[in-house]
């Protein structure tokens, strides 16, 4: 059974997530990028530990014309790092976006020094399609950061969707 649950983030959870983020400077930059969900083209999901009910992070998704969804994960509970949360959450959302019939491509932009997220994207079948040099300011490094753009589309997207569905079906039995 999946260890996590995702659903729309509530106002209360946004506050809790903010508070947790404020306590850790590593996540301060994410606050500046946060945009309120409109449930049409911008979504924010809470990532919840099924056992405890705690919000351990958030997952943002933004629709970019045409037929592209860009995704980002903020895992604010460090105890969950390295436990394949990103793979589980992103996998489930990719299936949902694909099955909506409105998305042909999923993309993500990852700080090139965020090595853990780079491997997560690769494992989910994302292909590196470009590098945006010095495209954001990195508060931790106090300097410009390069961002790598990944894309999941076409056959690779279908393959990933099938793999995730198959895995979910096996877990259910």
């Amino acid at each position: 059974m999946a260890k996590l649950v995702t659903r729309a983030l509530t106002v209360k959870e946004v506050s809790a997530s903010y508070a947790r983020t404020h306590r850790n400077p590593r996540f301060l930059k994410t606050l500046r990028r946060y945009r309120r969900a409109n449930q049409k083209t911008r979504f924010y999901h809470a990532i919840i530990d099924r056992q405890t009910g705690d919000v351990i992070g958030t997952h943002g998704s933004y629709y970019i014309p045409v037929r592209t969804m860009t995704v980002e994960v903020i895992l604010s509970d460090l105890a969950w790092w390295g436990k394949e949360v990103v793979a589980e959450v992103r996998g489930a959302l990719i299936v949902a976006y694909h099955d909506s019939g409105r998305v042909d491509q999923v993309t993500c932009n990852i700080n090139s020094r965020n090595f853990g997220s780079l491997i997560n994207a690769s494992k989910l079948g994302f292909e590196q399609v470009g590098v945006n040099y010095m495209s954001m300011f990195d508060e931790l490094e106090n300097g410009p950061a390069d961002y790598i753009t990944f894309s999941l589309r076409g056959e690779a997207l279908k393959k990933q969707v099938e793999a995730y569905k198959s895995e979910a079906a096996n877990d259910a039995h």
């Binding site: 090595f115 780079l118 994207a121 494992k123 590098v131 790598i148």
Partner: protein, 83 residues
């Protein structure tokens, strides 16, 4: 020690016992324990070893022992029998 030996050592050390026997064919997709935390350690060790910052355009390609060995060889590390 050849670049392949060094790459094997870096990956084996990072993935720990969960990774089992890591060989030249190993990649992040096929190796247990090659998770995000292990990958952070692998890339940091590569940068420490080469004394350089891996170019952003190359970072996403270093997901297998063979790719890491090729990168180490290109960077001129280690290639020394004394190591």
């Amino acid at each position: 020690m050849t670049p392949i030996d060094r790459a094997l050592a870096i990956v084996t050390n990072a993935v720990g016992p969960r990774g089992g026997d890591v060989d030249i064919e190993a990649s992040a997709l096929t190796t247990r324990g090659w998770d995000s935390i292990a990958h952070v350690n692998i890339l940091m060790e590569i940068e420490r070893e080469t004394g350089t910052t891996v170019p952003a355009a190359m970072l996403a390609t270093l997901t297998s022992v063979a790719a890491i060995a090729a990168f180490l060889e290109k960077a001129g590390v280690p290639g020394s029998a004394a190591q």
